[in-house]
């Protein structure tokens, strides 16, 4: 390759590098200070906090790569395109590869990937599963006392049981604030998925399976509950609104529920982590 062309390419390379650095320098503060803190699902719960932090880190790691690729494509298209009316029929330079840049690329991507995997695993353990379903025997669990709430998915409604209050079953989900909650999600029929968006909790409900998720809510409020796994005709209508209230309000509420539903509670099966309800299949 003639020296002039080589100089030209070196100039292009420097420009692209500079642009990438500048763009990253501009983007990173925005990502960290503006975008990151506003990532879903919000910071009102332990699970939410860890997810927001996680999302922010992912964005930070992605930013330089994204900037590099986008700037490279844009720059090449602008700098190297053959303008209409340019009758120069010559080909481009016969470059078949460039070992250093290949090695650098491989090294950086590998480093990023390994970091993300290790970070994600650490974050997962540190945040008690970050609100995700961890199966019957969770490895990441909070130390100290937990407040058990069972979520029962059925076609097409979620109902809830509170074992520490005699296994009372309710139609609404109300949680005490500042208390480490241990959700036990199960299903009576098809596969559902219990998604409490603002809490940052999601756990599939499988028939005959107990799926545990942890969360601790910091301040009172409401949150929306949706079914996140296709479960049949009324999947789209399987939503509800939950409430987070103070300890005392919770006590009065649960007492009220125990009174209201005394009629059906006597027939409820003993509280257990999974149920095999009658009637059996095909019986009807």
């Amino acid at each position: 390759m003639s020296s002039s062309a080589a100089d030209g390419n070196r100039r292009h390379a420097l420009r692209i590098a500079a642009l990438t650095v500048i763009a990253t320098a501009i983007a990173l503060p925005l990502v960290i200070l503006v975008l990151g803190p506003n990532m879903p699902p919000g910071k009102d719960t332990t699970a939410g906090v860890s997810q927001v932090f996680d999302n922010t880190v992912l964005l930070v790691v992605m930013t330089p790569f994204t900037m590099f690729i986008l700037i490279f494509i844009l720059y090449s298209v602008l700098a190297f395109r053959v303008r209409p009316g340019d009758n120069d029929q010559r080909d481009g330079a016969a470059i078949r590869g460039h070992m250093p840049s290949q090695i650098v690329w491989l090294a950086t991507t590998t480093a990023a990937v390994l970091f993300l995997a290790i970070f994600g695993s650490a974050e997962l353990l540190a945040s008690n599963g970050a609100g995700g379903g961890e199966g019957p025997k969770p490895i990441a669990k909070p130390s100290g006392s937990v407040f058990q709430v069972q979520v029962i998915g059925q076609q097409w409604e979620f109902t809830y049981r509170y074992p520490s209050y005699g296994g009372v079953e309710t139609a609404q989900l109300v949680l005490p604030v500042g208390q480490e909650i241990e959700f036990h999600v199960t299903s009576l029929d098809a596969v559902h998925s219990f998604w409490a968006y603002e809490l940052g909790v999601k756990a599939d409900a499988n028939p005959g399976v107990d799926n545990v998720a942890f969360v601790k809510v910091k301040k009172p409020g409401t949150f929306q509950i949706r079914c996140a796994e296709l479960c049949g005709l009324w999947h789209g209508y399987m939503f509800d609104t939950g409430r987070v209230v103070s300890q005392s309000q919770f006590a009065t509420w649960i007492a009220g529920q125990q009174r209201t539903f005394a009629g059906s509670q006597q027939y409820l099966p003993k509280y257990s982590l999974t149920y095999t309800p009658d009637p059996q299949d095909r019986a009807g």
Binding site: S2, S4, G8, P40, P41, S50, Q51, N55, L58, M62, I69, F72, I73, V77, F80, R81, R90, D91, G92, A93, A94, I95, R96, G97, Q102, L106, T110, V113, L116, A117, G120, S121, S127, A130, G131, G132, G133, E134, G135, K137, D189, A190, V191, W195, K202, N206, P207, G208, V209, D210, Q224, R226, C227, A228, E229, C231, G232, H235, G236, D281
Partner: protein
């Protein structure tokens, strides 16, 4: 002779025999009675009749096309035949033809038709989602539309590039006259068409509420319509498996002298790596669906926890197929991308070995990641760090593809033709798709994104944004070769810009909507998402409109203008462009001998003259 043609083995006979076969099978099924199928009487469900009907219907269809002739002859000890000599004339496009170029064009039209049906369903889905409440499609129809859209696209687009382009081009590129198994090649296409027809019948039997994943036990519970889904996917699986087998065998055995593994065009590598997955993944799907079929008919208990089955079993088996499946959708597009880039940058492919290892690396890793679809399901929660790692490792070979594409752009002499534009769009879309994939692969952020519109938008970026864009890039690039007729370049660019912009206006916001808490496949959504959803629906309609531009261009150029393309309109140097357009029936008179360099572009010195083609195969005498 003419009469003989009419009543011979052709599409008409096939359709008639197919319908007859269906009703015969339906009647046979109605004869089944035993205590385990006693449920039939009280549930009005005729699953057994329907399954047998579909099976015999497909059988009749294939017999009508003439697929039975050869096996029967062989049973009688008649000798094997290389292939039928291609009948000339238009009729060969309407029946069993073993010319790989005819099959390629059959695939292009057939799959194209079904893709547009799938797209129509998408439009109807977006129409429903304009408002937060169900307002347009009655009863179960919304879920049926979702299922039809997903299943149709997944089933058809898996063969969307291997079918038309690989069948047509791979034999030419490796210097062969045919695929290894021409009859199997034809069979894969007609199986696919039969399957598509079967899926369309789902709405006649009450539709199906399971989406394209068909999770058990819902699929055991659903109405008869889901039998169409099961039959469709099983037949598509068979078609995919045979197509993959044929492709792998062809690349292994049919390469011309000089075409060593190190000289294969990157397009062939892309199809080859895909074909390996296509050969091995679908059998798992087929056996899974057969288990579902038995659950629904013979009352086995594979996925019914109440008689010892498990819903986890289905999720494991399905995604063990399902994840290679999504790379089956990604890899051939990469092949097209890296094949087209050198032509319009006028440079050799940058980092050929790296690109090949990227393709093969993706194909290998895709077997180790399937449980990242089940992060929230509670299966093997302890293994989630491993699947997180293996999933994120896939971004390394994917990164190879990117760096090779960027290196090829570098210091090239870029010509922004319509195929080139689609390739650049591929890079952009797949970048977004890959980055959004990182959020899904990372368990803590997957808690929110899993099963939401975010994951839906993610795989639309990787499948539609990558596969469909490279599909259209391939059409604009190779259709002149296949038909000998030029497509209108201005309309092509109009199509590109409308499609690219409206695509990003559709799925970019959907990423955000998912983050804001909208679950997939739900007909209702929270009121505060209405503005965004309306915007998405409108741009989705524009996206649909861009397809009409393409159809108009296709018809206008091919039917009315018919401007000859010439043998090598793009001044490409790969072998298919050294042949006349369209390629003659036997491709080559004498099998060519290949030189060392698959991409002989580029100037050694700044003052070099335009370089010459690497291979000059003898042209067929016209």
């Amino acid at each position: 002779m003419k009469l003989r043609r009419l009543i011979g083995f052709n599409l008409l006979t096939a359709v008639i025999l197919g319908v007859i076969g269906f009703y015969v099978g339906w009647w046979l099924g109605s004869l089944f009675t035993s205590e385990s199928v006693a449920y039939l009487k009280e549930s009005n469900q005729h699953d057994i009749s329907l399954f047998i009907g579909y099976f015999t219907g497909v059988l009749g269809f294939l017999v009508g096309l003439g697929f039975a002739n050869y096996p029967v002859q062989r049973m009688l000890g008649k000798p094997a035949s290389l292939r039928e000599k291609e009948t000339q004339g238009k009729t060969r496009y309407l029946g069993l033809c073993t010319d790989h170029k005819v099959v390629g064009l059959q695939y292009l039209i057939g799959i194209g038709a079904f893709i547009f049906i799938g797209g129509l369903n998408a439009m109807l889905i977006r129409y429903e989602l304009i408002t937060p409440n169900q307002h347009a499609w009655n009863g179960n129809n919304y879920l049926t539309l979702v299922g039809l859209h997903g299943t149709m696209m997944m089933g058809m687009m898996t063969s969307g590039i291997l079918g038309p382009f690989a069948n047509y081009l791979v034999p030419i590129m490796i210097g062969a006259r045919r695929m290894a198994f021409p009859r199997i090649e034809a069979l894969t296409f007609w199986l696919l068409m039969a399957a598509g027809a079967i899926l369309m019948t789902a709405i006649a039997f009450g539709g199906f509420p399971t989406g394209w994943t068909g999770y058990a036990p819902l699929i055991d519970q659903a109405n008869m319509g889901v039998d169409a889904y099961i039959a469709f996917f099983a037949i598509v699986g068979l078609s995919m498996c045979l197509l993959g087998l044929n492709m792998v065998a062809t690349v292994i055995t049919m390469r011309a002298p000089g075409m060593t593994w190190g000289r294969l065009p990157i397009f062939v590598w892309g199809q080859f790596s895909t074909a390996i997955l296509m050969l091995l993944a679908p059998p798992v799907l087929i056996s899974t669906l057969l288990m579902v079929m038995l659950d629904r008919t013979a009352q086995t208990g594979f996925f019914n926890d109440q008689i010892g089955g498990s819903s986890y079993l289905y999720e494991n088996l399905f995604w063990f197929f399902g994840h290679p499946e999504v790379y089956i959708l990604a890899l051939p597009g990469m092949g097209i991308l890296l094949e087209i880039l050198p032509v319009f940058t006028r440079k050799p492919l940058w980092g050929y070995k790296l690109a090949v290892s990227g393709l093969m690396g993706i194909a290998l890793l895709s077997w180790l990641v399937w449980q990242h679809h089940l992060f929230m399901s509670g299966i093997n929660a302890d293994l989630r760090p491993f699947y997180m790692l293996s999933t994120e490792l896939i971004s390394l070979p994917t990164g190879f593809i990117f760096i090779c594409a960027l290196g090829t752009l570098w210091a090239g002499r870029i010509r922004l033709t319509s195929p080139m534009l689609f390739c650049l769009a591929w890079l952009f879309n797949f970048l977004i798709g890959g980055l959004s994939g990182v959020f899904l692969s990372d368990v803590p952020s997957d808690v929110t994104t899993h099963g939401s519109f975010f994951s839906m938008a993610h795989f639309h970026y990787t499948i539609m944004g990558a596969l469909l864009f490279s599909f259209f890039g391939g059409i604009y690039f190779w259709l002149p070769k296949m038909t000998g007729i030029k497509l209108n370049e201005r309309l092509a660019k109009a199509h590109f810009w409308v499609m690219f912009i409206s695509f990003n206006c559709t799925f970019g916001p959907l990423l955000v909507i998912g983050f804001l808490g909208m679950p997939r496949r739900a007909v209702t959504y929270a009121g505060y998402l209405q503005g965004a959803n309306t915007w998405v629906s409108v741009s989705a309609f524009f996206l649909g409109g861009s397809m009409l531009i393409f159809i108009f261009n296709f018809v206008w150029s091919l039917v009315f203008v018919r401007e000859p393309a010439g043998d090598n309109p793009w001044n490409s140097k790969s072998i298919e462009w050294q042949l006349p357009s369209p390629v003659p029936v036997h491709n080559f008179d004498r099998i060519p001998t290949f030189g060392p360099d698959p991409y002989p572009y580029g100037n050694v010195g700044s003052d070099a003259v335009p370089s010459m083609p690497a291979v000059t195969p003898a042209r067929p005498t016209q």
